[in-house]
C-alpha cells in the first residue's frame, strides 16, 4: 500500500518568508509525527498528533512553528518568518496507536528546506 508522502520534496525560500510543508500519512494511521533533521543536531522531535487529542507541541523550537492536522489525516507544518537556521530536512511519520504500547513509526521521504 501507499506509504507516507510529503510535499514538496525540496523548498528554497528567502529569509523572512513563510513556508508550508505537507504530510499525507498512511491510510488508517491515527498518529502523526513531525521531526526535523539538521546537520549537527541529528533527528529531533517537533510535534505529535493522536486522533482528536490535543497535539503534543513540546518539541516545536519557537512560536514561528505551528502545525495542524485536518480531518485526522493530512497535516501541514507551517514556519513563519523563516530563518537560515530553519534549513533542514523535515520528516513526517505515522503509526497506528494503541494506548500504552509502542507502535512502529513509518517515515515519509522528507522535505528538504533551504532558507537563503
Amino acid at each position: 500500500g501507499a506509504g507516507v508522502s510529503q510535499s514538496p520534496s525540496n523548498k528554497v525560500t528567502e529569509k523572512g518568508k513563510d513556508v508550508e510543508l505537507r504530510c499525507d500519512p498512511i491510510s488508517g494511521h491515527t498518529a502523526l509525527y513531525w521531526y526535523r533533521q539538521s546537520l549537527g543536531q541529528g533527528l529531533e522531535f517537533l510535534i505529535y498528533f493522536q486522533g482528536n487529542s490535543a497535539p503534543d507541541k513540546s518539541g516545536l523550537p519557537s512560536d514561528r512553528f505551528s502545525a495542524e492536522r485536518t480531518g485526522g489525516s493530512v497535516s501541514t507544518l507551517t514556519i513563519q518568518r523563516t530563518q537560515q537556521e530553519d534549513s533542514a530536512v523535515y520528516l513526517c511519520a505515522s503509526s497506528l496507536w494503541r494506548r500504552g504500547l509502542g507502535e512502529t513509526q513509518y517515515f515519509g521521504p522528507g522535505t528538504r528546506l533551504l532558507v537563503l
Partner: protein, 110 residues
C-alpha cells in the same frame, strides 16, 4: 531525558565483511527501533525490539537487545554495497515520540 549513543559514527568495510553497530541508552529501553536512511530519502524501518534478550533477523541483518535493556546491536553479515547508508537507532521517550542516536554512516566498498 533519554540519550542514545551510537558507535561507531562511521564505518568503512569491504564487501563481504561482517560488521556491528552499537546503540547505548542512558536509560532502560522500552522500545528500540532500528532504521536505515539513504541520502535524500526518509527513514526505512528495519526492526523493533522490546524484550530483554530479544533478537530479530531480516535477511542478513540481525538486531539484539541486551538483557538489561540498555544496549542494542545491529549486525550485518556478508555486507553488500546495498547495505550502505546511515543506520539510526530510536527509542520510545514517552508520549510516543522517538529519541534518536546520531547515526552510523556505513560505506561498503565493492
Amino acid at each position: 531525558s533519554q540519550e542514545l549513543e551510537q558507535s561507531p559514527q562511521s564505518l568503512i568495510v569491504q564487501e563481504g565483511k561482517n560488521l556491528t553497530i552499537n546503540c547505548t541508552s542512558s536509560k532502560t529501553l522500552y522500545g528500540l527501533y532500528w532504521y536505515k536512511q539513504k541520502y535524500g530519502e526518509g527513514l526505512i524501518f528495519l526492526m523493533m525490539l522490546q524484550k530483554g534478550g530479544e533478537e530479530k533477523s531480516h535477511e542478513k541483518i540481525t538486531a539484539k537487545l541486551d538483557e538489561k535493556k540498555q544496549q542494542s546491536s545491529l549486525h550485518i553479515t556478508a555486507s553488500q554495497p546495498s547495505h550502505a547508508g546511515i543506520y539510526l537507532c530510536g527509542a520510545d521517550s514517552g508520549g510516543s515520540r522517538l529519541t534518536f542516536g546520531e547515526g552510523t554512516q556505513l560505506t561498503v566498498n565493492p
